[in-house]
């Protein structure tokens, strides 16, 4: 079995910010998420300190708006997707105190709708992805009481399908990425009892194809990013032992560009930071040696999540 070329992937991620090619130019609007994928990968590989923390945090703060929300880059409109990425980056750096948490929480809570769902921004598109972003973000900020969590959980539960999977709205098609968001939201929001674990585990494991890779829906080709979405969901519902882990590990390793670093969606395709992150995160869930373990719900290294939820309790033992 080939090995994970950590040194190459580290170089690849460090090189990303200098690129000026079309691909880079056309994805500037989602730089906040790009930064989160790159930095979390660096942290899992144990190389986070090689990134310019000061420059990143000061750029990140320039992406915050009056409303409290963050945009994907300077001058763009804020969105809950990038607000979560920004909070995750600050969590990685243990710098959550540099922002006004109440303001961010206020931005998120005003996106909640009557039925418990969340809009992504002021334009009202509804999606369970946004429910996940809102719940995950508020939990990291310890502000979950700012929303109606019961209703938020009920909305996600209402998106469950006959096959045990979840869609973007009630009646929406089951999709592995959507399932991660719903199961993650339920895990953080205390609603995992809404999941039929056997049925969902069944559907998720059927995503594994002969090559060992996972797809996101029936009849689709395997893709490295589903290694994360499917596997993290399986871990959260305690069915990861139903998957063929060795074959999956092999599939992810086969998607590496061993010469220039980075991981692609399928063997021999062009690499990008998105699939690099999901490949490394998948391997981390598979307990690959040399990688920090990652939390399946918060999508952050376990030590980062522990630091947020346990360290302050140690500092204040007074209750």
């Amino acid at each position: 079995m080939g090995e994970l070329s950590i040194a190459k992937h580290v170089d690849y991620i460090k090189s990303l910010d200098k690129k000026k090619d079309l691909e880079t130019v056309l994805t500037e609007h989602l730089r906040m998420s790009g930064a989160y994928w790159g930095l979390t990968s660096m942290d899992m590989m144990g190389h986070l300190e090689e990134m310019d923390k000061e420059a990143i945090v000061s750029w990140l703060l320039r992406c915050q708006h009056e409303s409290g929300g963050f945009s994907g880059n300077i001058d763009h409109d804020p969105h809950v997707l990038y607000t979560l990425s920004a909070v995750q980056i600050l969590a990685l750096y243990d710098e959550l105190d540099v922002i006004n948490k109440d303001k961010v929480a206020a931005y998120i809570s005003q996106l909640q709708q009557e039925d418990g769902s969340f809009a992504g921004d002021e334009w009202g598109e509804i999606d369970t992805r946004f429910s996940y972003c809102a719940i995950c973000c508020l939990s990291l900020l310890k502000r979950l009481e700012k929303i109606n969590l019961t209703k938020a959980v009920e909305f996600v539960a209402a998106c469950k399908n006959f096959d045990g999977g979840f869609g973007c709205t009630p009646g929406g098609e089951s999709h592995a990425g959507q399932i991660f968001c719903c199961v993650g939201a339920l895990a953080i929001g205390g609603g995992l009892h809404h999941v039929d674990k056997d049925l969902l585990g069944w559907w998720l494991c059927e995503r594994q194809v002969k090559s060992g890779g996972l797809n996101g829906r029936p009849e689709k080709l395997p893709d490295v990013c589903y290694s994360w979405w499917v596997l993290s969901s399986l871990v959260m519902i305690d069915r990861a032992h139903w998957i063929n882990k060795d074959k999956l590990k092999q599939f992810i390793l086969d998607c590496q560009d061993k010469e220039h670093g980075g991981i692609s969606d399928r063997p021999d395709d062009a690499v990008d930071v998105f699939h690099t992150y999901f490949g490394i995160a998948g391997l981390s869930l598979l307990e690959y040696e040399g990688l920090k373990p990652i939390d399946p719900a918060y999508a952050l290294p376990v030590d980062v999540v522990d630091r947020i939820f346990y360290s302050c309790e140690k500092k204040q033992p007074s209750h």
Binding site: D21, L26, H29, F162, D163, E173, E219, H241
Partner: protein
């Protein structure tokens, strides 16, 4: 390079002011040259022929010019956006303000054509839509269609479409989508789904439209999409759209017998397709759904009604007949694996819903069969089959205790 970008931006803005342009393509410079050679007439004589080709309301742009064009469009957009919609925006009363909004609108058009994922530009249009009354819903739908013509999976173009329809449904159509608009939307999806396979966003749009449909329209669409589905049996999303309709019909005021008729027709149809197209996962998934519907809605309440032919047994024999009739090639192996999994599904659902029919004999025999088949035909998924098998057995044992 920057100067060149500004000049090109001017040309592109002018070309795109033609609202009738309905297709855009990004092509290699050599392809662009061929286009020019092959056409006697071009729509736009001022445009740089090494960058643009424009004919019959179709536009081709050279990939080589994309970076300077985009950079220039982006900076013009941001500066106009900042002044008109940004934090320090001026009041809307100034003279020439309409022209300036029109200018921003044309810039957003250029930006989303160059980069459909540039959500801030789509949203600027929504803002202007609220401020001025010059923007028509038709124009927004056309722009969305134009972008979908070259980027059929653009989430933002689909979302802009939904936003446009929602805002006009409220203001123009008194909370109903007129039939002709509904049909236009389905036409667009069919066209896009033809060219862009497995397009999650396109089918999501169909499922989204279901909320506006009456039971009669829903039953009609089930018929209409049949021939499309038959030609695309791997399109799981198309079958999901059908599931979406069935679920909606069952919560609406549609008489249950009508839904049951549609369900029966669907069942016969899907079985025919399963026999015709060997080893298609999407078909077997749909078959699972139809059995699920039987368990939850169509199961007779009186056991006497189906003595002799309990439906679960009919379904098990159907799966068996599929297993017996297929060969040992790859499609055949998949068919056997899906049929066996389906039998597991039948046992699982019967147990789960405490379906009355006595399946203890069948259960022992079938579980053994299923185990044998799954292990030999889908060996790489051994851990799953073992896991599921244990769960079904555990559920059955609970029952015998």
């Amino acid at each position: 390079m920057e100067e060149g970008g500004v000049a090109l931006l001017k040309q592109l803005t002018q070309i795109l002011s033609d609202q009738l342009i309905d297709e855009v393509g990004y092509v290699h410079p050599s392809q662009l040259a061929k286009l020019h050679e092959g056409s006697t007439h071009v729509d736009n004589a001022v445009a740089d022929p090494s960058v643009f080709w424009c004919g019959e309301h179709k536009l081709a742009i050279s990939t080589q010019a994309l970076v300077p064009l985009y950079n220039s469009a982006k900076s013009s957009f941001f500066s106009s956006h900042q002044t008109l919609l940004g934090k320090s925006k001026h009041s809307f009363h100034g003279s020439g303000i309409n022209e300036r909004f029109q200018e921003l609108l044309s810039l957003t058009r250029v930006v989303v054509v160059l980069n459909p994922a540039f959500k801030t530009a789509w949203d600027a249009r929504k803002c202007i839509f609220g401020i001025l009354s010059v923007v028509s819903p038709l124009q927004e739908l056309q722009l969305s269609s134009l972008v979908l013509s070259f980027n059929p999976k653009s989430e933002d173009a689909w979302a802009h479409r939904r936003w446009t329809i929602c805002s006009s449904v409220e203001s123009l159509f008194s909370h109903q989508i007129p039939e002709h608009l509904l049909q236009e939307e389905f036409k667009l999806v069919a066209m896009i789904a033809d060219r862009s396979r497995m397009n999650f966003c396109a089918w999501r749009h169909c499922c989204w439209l279901v909320q506006w449909m009456s039971p009669v329209q829903m039953l009609q669409e089930l018929q209409t999409w049949k021939s499309w589905a038959q030609l695309h049996v791997a399109e799981s999303s198309c079958f999901h759209f059908r599931r979406c309709i069935f679920e909606k019909l069952l919560t609406d005021e549609c008489p249950l017998v009508k839904v049951k008729d549609a369900w029966l027709e669907e069942l016969n149809w899907i079985k025919k397709l399963i026999k015709l197209y060997i080893g298609r996962e999407a078909l077997w998934m749909h078959q699972r759904f139809l059995f699920f519907l039987w368990v939850h809605y169509f199961k007779p309440t009186d056991p006497a009604e189906s003595i002799g032919h309990p439906f679960p047994l009919v379904e098990i024999s159907f799966a068996n007949s599929c297993i017996e009739s297929c060969g040992d090639d790859e499609d055949g192996q998949r068919q056997i694996a899906y049929a066996s999994t389906f039998k597991l599904w039948v046992l699982w659902k019967c147990k789960e819903s405490s379906t009355w029919f006595d399946y203890s004999m069948l259960k022992t025999r079938e579980l053994f069969n299923i185990e044998q088949l799954l292990r030999s035909k889908a060996a790489y998924q051994k851990a799953l089959w073992e896991g599921l098998y244990e769960r079904v057995k555990a559920r059955s044992d609970e029952e015998t205790c």
